[in-house]
């Protein structure tokens, strides 16, 4: 999260005014919608237009799908195609242009493609990946009868645009979040305290750890030429794995905390993913709401469909490749998704993790194998091109220069801090961590206040949140 004066003022105003909209539910929806659009317009007023289009279209389509018994399939198809088309136009336009360029032999040069990319950049579409998925999921839920279409326009807009989760998720289950919005739950002191703690933990993970790791990673990937040291690149990729986890998990904690301060509970998105012992388990712990969405709206429907029923591996590949496409505009992201599909497929085929998990030592081997697989996939996620990724992987597996020199002691300290924070998060879920003693509570308040100051004044260079581009 950008630490700047304006955001402090803006958020302060939102929380102050929130109090005045805690009696009338309809006024609250209007207030939430206005504040969300105001927040979004700070980042990109052009993107507000895109959000409005998605909001209005999904609202009316939901009602039409519910009312119309005869042509529901046509309407849901239209709705999904329309929203996906908006996503393609505003997010993948250059990628689509490149593909069309090749297919039709138009010979647009890199320079021309860059020109159009620059022109479109002003329609910055931060967050579009998240709210379009939310809208598509909503239409499917209405179509399948899981929820009723919202008849109240501002409830629908508040649900779609709720500002804490607008830019980065979590992608909430439609039913549970709409139900929360339909009620005004009094905000307790406990909610406020938990919200504050989540925000502080998030700022430590994102601003202190991830943003201070970022320059080391950026320098490594931008160096010309790239380092030829095996140990160097393994350290960099492991550091990147920590960076992206802290970045995204940190942002999620901030989002959850902000929502708690407004009286709403959002879903967890991470459950210690780097402790996963199998590729499938990883996707139950990493970006949980996205993998849940993919499972419910892509994998299960494919598995139940007439032509793909029972084709587990094919459906897995389709789902993971779509996940790769969703994550980024470029072939490296598609390869990243493909690698995860490969890992899952191999594990399902030979059951290596199931076999190894029977033994204690085997669990350690699973952990190491998972880390190797994840690190290979992270190379593609971070690299600027397939060539760069291939170059780095070649170095990683060529065993050049295997002296155990630490790339950066600072990075090591930050990684250790990340482990400590994760350990705290794990412990904090236990009942005995809800301190009742005044002394311990006072100590907790002091520690978290200190951590807040540390997160602000020792933050990194202020890199934008990595998942903003989605």
């Amino acid at each position: 999260m950008q630490i700047n004066i304006f955001i402090f003022i803006f958020l302060g105003a939102i929380f102050f005014l929130n109090h005045f909209f805690s009696r009338n539910i309809k006024a609250r929806w209007i207030y939430l919608t206005i504040t969300s659009f105001a927040y979004f317009s700070l980042i990109s007023w052009q993107s507000c237009i895109v959000l409005l289009i998605i909001g209005i279209s999904s609202y009316f389509l939901g009602i039409v799908i519910e009312k119309n018994q005869k042509n529901t399939r046509a309407f849901i198809s239209f709705g999904v195609i329309f929203i996906v088309a908006v996503l393609l136009i505003f997010r993948y336009q250059i990628f689509v242009l490149e593909i069309i360029n090749r297919l039709l032999n138009r010979n647009l040069s890199v320079i021309e493609l860059n020109y159009w990319s620059n022109k479109f950049s002003v329609f910055s579409t931060i967050g579009i990946g998240f709210y379009t998925l939310q809208a598509i999921g909503y239409l499917f839920d209405v179509y399948n009868g899981r929820i009723s279409a919202t008849r109240e326009f501002f409830l629908h807009m508040a649900f779609l645009s709720f500002f804490p989760k607008l830019l980065s998720g979590p992608i909430e289950k439609n039913k549970t979040f709409i139900e929360q919005l339909r009620q005004i739950t009094p905000i307790t002191e406990d909610d406020r305290w938990r919200g504050f703690k989540n925000i502080v933990i998030g700022l430590i993970l994102k601003n202190l750890i991830a943003d201070n790791l970022a320059p080391v990673i950026d320098t490594a990937f931008q160096s010309v030429p790239l380092s030829r040291s095996t140990v160097f690149w393994w350290q960099i990729i492991i550091t990147f794995a920590v960076q992206i986890y802290c970045d995204f998990n940190g942002y999620t904690h901030i989002v959850i905390g902000l929502a708690q301060l407004m009286g709403y509970n959002l879903s967890e998105n991470f459950k210690f993913p780097y402790l996963s012992l199998s590729p499938s388990e990883f996707w139950t712990r990493w970006h949980i709401t996205l993998s849940t969405w993919l499972r419910e709206y892509i994998f299960f429907p494919l598995s139940r469909s007439k032509y793909l029923r029972g084709k587990y591996y094919l459906n897995t590949w389709i789902t993971m490749l779509l996940s790769g496409v969703w994550h980024g505009v470029g072939w490296t992201f598609i390869i990243w998704g493909g690698l995860h599909a490969l890992y899952i497929s191999i594990d399902q085929w030979i059951h290596w993790s199931t076999f190894l998990k029977k033994f204690t030592a085997g669990k350690m081997i699973c952990l190491v194998l998972m880390w190797v697989q994840l690190d290979i996939s992270w190379v593609f996620f971070r690299a600027s091109s397939i060539n760069q990724a291939a170059d780095i992987l070649k170095v990683m597996f060529s065993f050049n220069n295997i002296s155990l020199k630490v790339v950066s002691v600072n990075c090591l300290e930050l990684i250790i801090l990340a482990l400590v924070i994760d350990a705290y998060i794990y412990q904090s879920k236990k009942p005995q961590m809800n301190f009742t003693s005044l002394r311990l509570k006072g100590l907790e308040v002091f520690v978290f206040s200190l951590l807040l100051v540390v997160a602000i004044f020792f933050r990194g260079v202020g890199n934008q949140f990595i998942y903003f581009q989605f």
Binding site: N4, S109, I111, N114
Partner: protein
């Protein structure tokens, strides 16, 4: 104009500088274009001493590319009612490569969020107060070993006065690698000359020159980058542009690529002397 006392770690000054340069809309008579050699190497305030009353903006960016997009952006900075509109382009081979044509640094600044812009423009003092301390503490107690100290002064007219202690020639090594894969694009050279003709048709005077740099860098670029100064200058003049020549020996670079502060001031004086001649004769 906000002048910064040399400070080793002045991220907030840098943030404000880029916001003012990119986001704050003003009208200018003359706009300078190019890459980091231009924004570090030319001081509009110094130029104005030879051309009193002329409003000049240094509109160059890091790894700045010279292409149609940036030409249009520079155009938008000119005062349409000015009688002495001019575009000054400091050419460097890197600015005419495909890689630079994405203008990543400029786009990053152009797409800043409003909260970022407002905070850094309207509340610079408050932003300074909450600016990170880690680098400042690290520098003060010399906790990290640095190869060199990098000094920068940020000016609202778009100049960044720069120097390092000690100096080195590190840019030569990195550019040697860069030009192994990145070459001057003929398409961009064509765009440059076509744009010159377009500007001339619209009564905008266009000046260009090869931005002075370290003589060793010139040798490297002539050998490896595909930059044909002779051909480009001839095509440029054919399309109505005014080509200026400067000697690289007269100026000093602190890293093998960029001019140091004193040389930037000297070059700005030399540049403005030549331009003033043309503008006064107009």
């Amino acid at each position: 104009m906000r002048i910064t006392i040399p400070n080793l770690n002045n991220d907030e000054d840098a943030n404000r500088y880029w916001v003012v340069k990119t986001q704050i809309q003003k009208n200018y008579d003359i706009v300078l274009l190019g890459d980091s050699r231009v924004y570090r190497g030319i001081s509009p305030a110094t130029m104005v001493q030879s051309m009193p009353g002329v409003r000049i903006l240094n509109f160059a960016y890091s790894s700045g590319g010279l292409n149609q997009y940036m030409y249009a952006e520079a155009d938008s900075k000119l005062d349409p009612n000015s009688s002495r509109k001019a575009i000054i382009i400091g050419l460097s081979p890197a600015a005419l490569t495909e890689f630079s044509s994405n203008n990543a640094a400029y786009m990053a600044e152009k797409t800043r969020s409003i909260d970022y812009i407002v905070s850094n423009y309207l509340f610079p003092g408050a932003q300074d107060f909450i600016s990170p301390l880690n680098n400042k503490i690290s520098d003060y107690y010399q906790l990290t070993k640095k190869m060199k100290d990098y000094y920068q002064e940020f000016y609202d007219d778009g100049w960044v006065a720069s120097w390092t202690i000690p100096e080195d020639r590190s840019a030569l090594t990195s550019y040697k690698e860069v030009f192994k894969t990145r070459k001057v694009s003929t398409e961009l050279v064509q765009q440059f000359t076509d744009q010159t003709a377009f500007w001339r048709e619209n009564h905008i005077t266009v000046f260009a020159f090869r931005m002075p740099t370290d003589p060793q860098m010139v040798i490297l670029e002539n050998k490896s980058s595909g930059f044909d100064e002779n051909h480009i200058s001839k095509q440029f003049e054919k399309n109505g542009g005014i080509w200026l020549d400067f000697s690289n020996e007269t100026y000093h670079s602190y890293d093998g690529s960029h001019l140091d502060k004193d040389s930037a001031v000297k070059f700005s004086q030399d540049l403005s002397a030549q331009i003033a001649q043309y503008m006064n004769n107009k």
